[in-house]
Subunit: 313 residues, 2 copies
């Protein structure tokens, strides 16, 4: 049995699909705060998929969800990085403390394996681009990034102290169908409100590594199969980047709208804690034989098309 | 006004002494769980030293302690690394969550500067020795180390998001008078119980960087004076190491006891989560002109002598 926390969410629901497809039994633990019934409803009637509705901040529910589990895929988190600047304990609670609850419930219930969705946000404004896994010091500038490195460290402490096995994945910006946050999602909603103009936060030169949710869950499962004990750490991405201004162009192209004016709010960041440039070094991943199906721009274009269908314009 | 959290504790009380000596006003915030009245009683009657008795887990008390403060020296933490293996939320609460409470109280009260006692424990079992600040990935194997990197990341997130100024100090093993934990303290208590033999956890080959509490607080204040904004990060240590078996010899020599048999429990670690070897690269510190007064062995010998006086044999 595989437990997927946040399994009704964006990346989580794609992972559930991949696990079901390869024949695994799956238990979803989700509080449906950003997860949605519609993201997992296609598994209804499938006995190999269980849904536990509950909050990871409740240790009892987390412990109950561990029964019979061989591996935890811990994807639940606050998906909105900007929220951390307004309610400052959001990421501490939904990130760090929930990860502690998961690890402690694993320890008590004898569950040994955890796969964890970390983030390129842990690198902050790295001086080395592309940025490899060995880059240091890690200096996140967002509260979201801080909760991700805190969770990574809890996992390696559990490995070192209690003999757990941890797979840490540092995600690029993951995009795809069922996205509920992020720049593409925001742009489509802005165009829905006003099809004549598109406001872009910052100067548009922000540039980041993107990866499709499809490739993301493929690479997670690929990496998990490579080792059996201790901790492993991989950047998961495609090896290139895309700028925010290029994303704006792609979204407008996919929308079919004509004459949309792009307006920049200016400044190098979209918001306080936004990292203007991230560029993940994914040589370690590619050296294992993993091949992404879409590079950043294609992943963005396919996502724009899928989200325009989901959201409607 | 300087606020020192954990100011009645081991390193905290030495820092209070140093701040008072240079003429600063000091407020101590301590719950006296491991801090002691006797460590600060020599400041009684000195109007420039205030004592707030309270727990950092109470946000109201932390916020009240910030009034009129220009800089926070955040030294409060669980001092017993081994305890984290028994009560697994000890370091999460007394480390990570307390640091969050301090930072949030700073934000609300407009306090901008924080100096933080981090630890070489964040490096875990580093593959590079001596280990510089830029070493990565940081993979702590103790829950204590996990809470220290989590706290560092909260501080840099606060710097990046809210414009705070953070001084992060990654301490070697700090030893000196008023020590309440650690290997020298343990050895003296063991000899007090049985002066004929000394039990050493592990094989005695564990080897770590040590620094005197006197040099530690000198180097903290030295580093703080080097910059005025953003974050700064320094390993604080002396640039050499000492083995646990050598510490056992030194403690026995300082005790004056004759014919003490040293017994090793065996294994390369003292306990689960213990890092067998730490060796801090302190070139960055030494390049700023800081000169330690005692290298590791001398710091250990002076500490053994002082603690034997304090504890009695």
């Amino acid at each position: 049995m595989h437990l997927v926390t946040g399994g009704a969410g964006f990346i989580g629901s794609h992972l559930v699909d991949a696990l079901v497809e390869r024949g695994d039994e799956v238990r979803i633990l989700d509080n449906f705060s950003s997860g949605r019934e519609s993201f997992i409803s296609h598994h209804e009637g499938n006995d190999s998929v269980q849904v536990f509705r509950g909050d990871l901040l409740d240790p009892l529910i987390v412990s109950e969800s561990m029964i019979g589990v061989e591996m935890v895929h811990h994807l639940a988190a606050n998906p909105d990085i900007r929220l951390g600047t307004e309610i400052t304990d959001t990421d501490l609670k939904q990130g760090t403390i929930c990860t502690y609850n998961v690890l402690e419930a694993m320890r008590v219930n004898g569950v040994k394996k955890i796969s964890f969705a970390s983030s390129s946000a842990i690198y902050g404004e790295a001086e080395l681009m592309p940025t490899p896994e060995s880059y240091g010091p890690v200096v996140p500038i967002s509260l979201y990034g801080a909760s991700k490195i805190a969770s990574e460290a809890l996992i390696t402490a559990w490995v070192g102290t209690f003999g757990a096995c941890g797979y840490i994945h540092r995600f690029a910006n993951i995009v795809g169908p069922r996205g509920t946050h992020g720049v593409i999602f925001d742009f489509i909603h802005k165009l829905k409100r006003d099809p004549t103009k598109l406001e872009v936060l910052g100067d548009g030169n922000q540039e980041k590594s993107y990866m499709s949710a499809h490739d993301c869950v493929r690479s997670m499962l690929h990496v998990i199969d490579l080792s059996e004990d201790g901790w492993s750490l991989f950047n998961l991405g495609t090896g290139d980047t895309c700028s925010v201004s290029r994303i704006a162009e792609i979204v407008i192209e996919e929308s079919g709208l004509k004459g949309v004016g792009i307006e920049y709010t200016g400044g190098k960041r979209g918001w306080a804690g936004d990292v203007p440039k991230t560029y993940l070094d994914v040589e370690k991943l590619l050296d294992t034989g993993f091949v992404p199906t879409s590079m950043s721009e294609l992943a963005i274009r396919e996502t724009a098309s899928a989200l325009i269908d989901e959201i409607g314009l």
